[in-house]
């Protein structure tokens, strides 16, 4: 299917505005994405027609809300090809999902002297929960090194992951380097050594087909807001064999079967983890976002982004004094491009580009260990999504050149 990208932009009112008198070019999609009308409409329709609490009432609205909320769970299950909705937990986002695993699985299987392995390209939300677990249990946290072109060093991975390694938690797609990690290969290796594989899929699920069974990961986390859904909704997929043994982290309504004075029993999966009134509208919005993405096709979206990167890379490589981070080959990466202009601080770059209407991010991208590893205090980052066009890519290159000119000339 060929996608009419020019028309697709009409689904996003926010993109049709001027910023600093220039047409907005939104290139901060790794931070969060814009929402199409279909998602906003789904929220509105839910509140107009069906709003009620879930799993609680016998009245008609409660039934509708429950059906739609659980319907969204089924959409997520199908989208990531999970075997069962019992293994699809709604959370607040990737951060919450990873914290749940580190806390609940960590308490279940980590003992003093055990090893937990992550990598130098992790987001803070896939570092700190493990640091805390390691400190709590007296376990050891190890980091897999990167190669010069910003990939996981697979030789080092094989060295760091040992029989003592109980948990390995790795990012599927880096939010700085854009690199796609070979998760299946790593998972097989981890399982061989008897460990559990956790995957941070925050930058993968929005941009490519993800099949959790094909990856064979034990846990897989992602956020709705990075894939056109509202903020405050995310997913933790976990294999039933683990989720059944794990204890919930929060207790209260919705997650119990029977409550007695001194003890209670939990509901079955997935509800035992979802205490309290959940983000019902958020889940429904996520369902609508999945419909929107599937209608275009995840492979199509991935190809579109790779085409943009393939188009951009040679143009960027021509710019003198521009450092690009991550793999050079478009097929090794997604539409996340971190860069620095020699002698110009990324914050100055981001301010200048904003004046041109181009929204890019500058900073450490919640990856301070990676910044140190790359020996950069910070970087600028452009991240593309399916509503970005070749025209956006051109505007980005022009703004980049103008920015460089401005600072170089001013500094003469």
């Amino acid at each position: 299917m060929t996608v009419p990208y020019e028309h697709l932009r009409e689904d996003f009112k926010i993109l049709q505005q001027h910023v600093n008198d220039e047409p907005l070019v939104y290139l901060d999609n790794a931070a969060t994405t814009q929402k199409p009308e279909a998602v906003l409409k789904a929220l509105e329709t839910y509140y107009h027609t069906s709003n009620a609490n879930v799993h609680r009432g016998v009245h008609t609205l409660a039934e509708r809300a429950t059906t739609q909320y659980e319907g969204a769970r089924e959409k997520v299950r199908r989208f990531i090809n999970a075997p069962s909705t019992a293994e699809v937990l709604f959370t607040r986002g990737t951060t919450t999902s990873l914290n749940w695993v580190a806390r609940s699985l960590g308490d279940l299987i980590i003992e003093e002297g055990d090893e937990i392995v992550i990598s130098f390209m992790e987001h803070h939300s896939n570092i700190i929960p493990w640091q805390q677990l390691a400190k709590r249990k007296g376990a050891k946290l190890k980091y897999i090194e990167l190669t010069d072109d910003g990939k996981l060093d697979m030789d080092d991975a094989r060295e760091k992951i040992t029989e003592q390694t109980k948990i390995v938690s790795l990012v599927h797609v880096s939010n700085v380097l854009g690199v796609v990690n070979p998760i299946r290969e790593l998972t097989d290796y981890v399982h061989d050594k008897g460990g559990v594989m956790v995957v941070d899929g925050a930058q993968a699920v929005p941009h490519m087909p993800v099949d959790v069974q094909a990856l064979d990961a034990d846990f897989y986390a992602f956020s709705g807001h990075k894939m056109m859904a509202p903020t405050g909704i995310g997913v933790l997929y976990g294999k039933r064999k683990w989720l059944e043994k794990m204890e919930p982290l929060e207790f209260g309504g919705e997650m119990i079967d029977f409550v007695e004075l001194q003890d209670s029993t939990w509901k079955e999966l997935p509800w035992k983890f979802e205490a309290g009134t959940p983000n019902i509208a958020g889940a429904i919005g996520l369902g609508a976002a999945i419909d929107y993405l599937e209608n275009i096709g995840m492979r199509e979206i991935m190809d579109h982004e790779q085409n943009l990167v393939a188009y951009l890379m040679p143009k960027l490589e021509e710019i003198e004094g521009l450092t690009l981070f991550g793999p050079k080959k478009a097929s090794d990466r997604t539409g996340v491009i971190a860069f620095n202009i020699d002698g110009v601080h990324p914050h100055d770059v981001a301010t200048a580009m904003d004046m041109e209407g181009v929204a890019v991010r500058a900073g450490h991208h919640c990856a301070q260990p990676l910044m140190n590893y790359l020996n950069q205090p910070a970087t600028a980052r452009a991240s593309f999504y399916l509503y970005n066009t070749v025209a956006d890519a051109d505007k980005f290159v022009d703004a980049l050149k103008a920015t460089k000119e401005f600072f170089i000339h001013g500094l003469d």
Binding site: P346, H347, D348, F407
Partner: protein, 154 residues
């Protein structure tokens, strides 16, 4: 071209200060020094002072950061050299007014630092401009050497 608007922020004087910073380096005999970091952007700044009989007789800064933070540090050293501790603290407050778009009382004394008034139109960058001044304030408020800290989120 929209970049012309950038001139409000990056006046020639500012670019000059960031490229040719005044008093960048280290003091042999500092009476007070501080290192401050802005964790959101990775900027780090060290400020060293020699305070003799309540007067700032020498000052140096070092570190890494964006144009705005480096220029501001350089301008800060111009403004506070040979001032009393109280005068310097007053300038810190005045400067923070300037970058919020308000008029200070001692425009003259702030000197080139007045050029950073344009920062008020770029709220995301106000912290860049105030980092060195916050460091100065902390250094003056402490009594010894070896202090360090982080820029808080206020």
């Amino acid at each position: 071209m929209a970049l012309t608007k950038l001139d409000q922020l990056y006046r020639a004087v500012i670019l000059d200060h960031s490229q040719h910073p005044r008093r960048r380096g280290v003091l042999d005999k500092a009476t007070t020094q501080i290192e401050l970091k802005n964790p959101t952007c990775g900027d780090v700044i060290q400020v060293q002072l020699t305070v003799e009989e309540d007067k700032i007789t020498d000052v140096r800064f070092d570190g890494s950061g964006c144009t705005i933070s480096m220029a501001s540090a350089s301008m800060m050293t111009d403004a506070i050299l040979n001032k009393s501790v109280d005068e310097a603290l007053t300038l810190v407050n005045e400067f923070s007014e300037v970058v919020q778009g308000n008029k200070p009382e001692h425009e003259q004394e702030l000197g080139d630092a007045m050029m950073l008034a344009g920062v008020s139109k770029f709220p995301a960058r106000i912290k860049c401009a105030t980092l060195s001044w916050k460091a100065l304030e902390k250094a003056l408020g402490s009594d010894g050497t070896g202090v360090d800290g982080q820029l808080t989120h206020d």
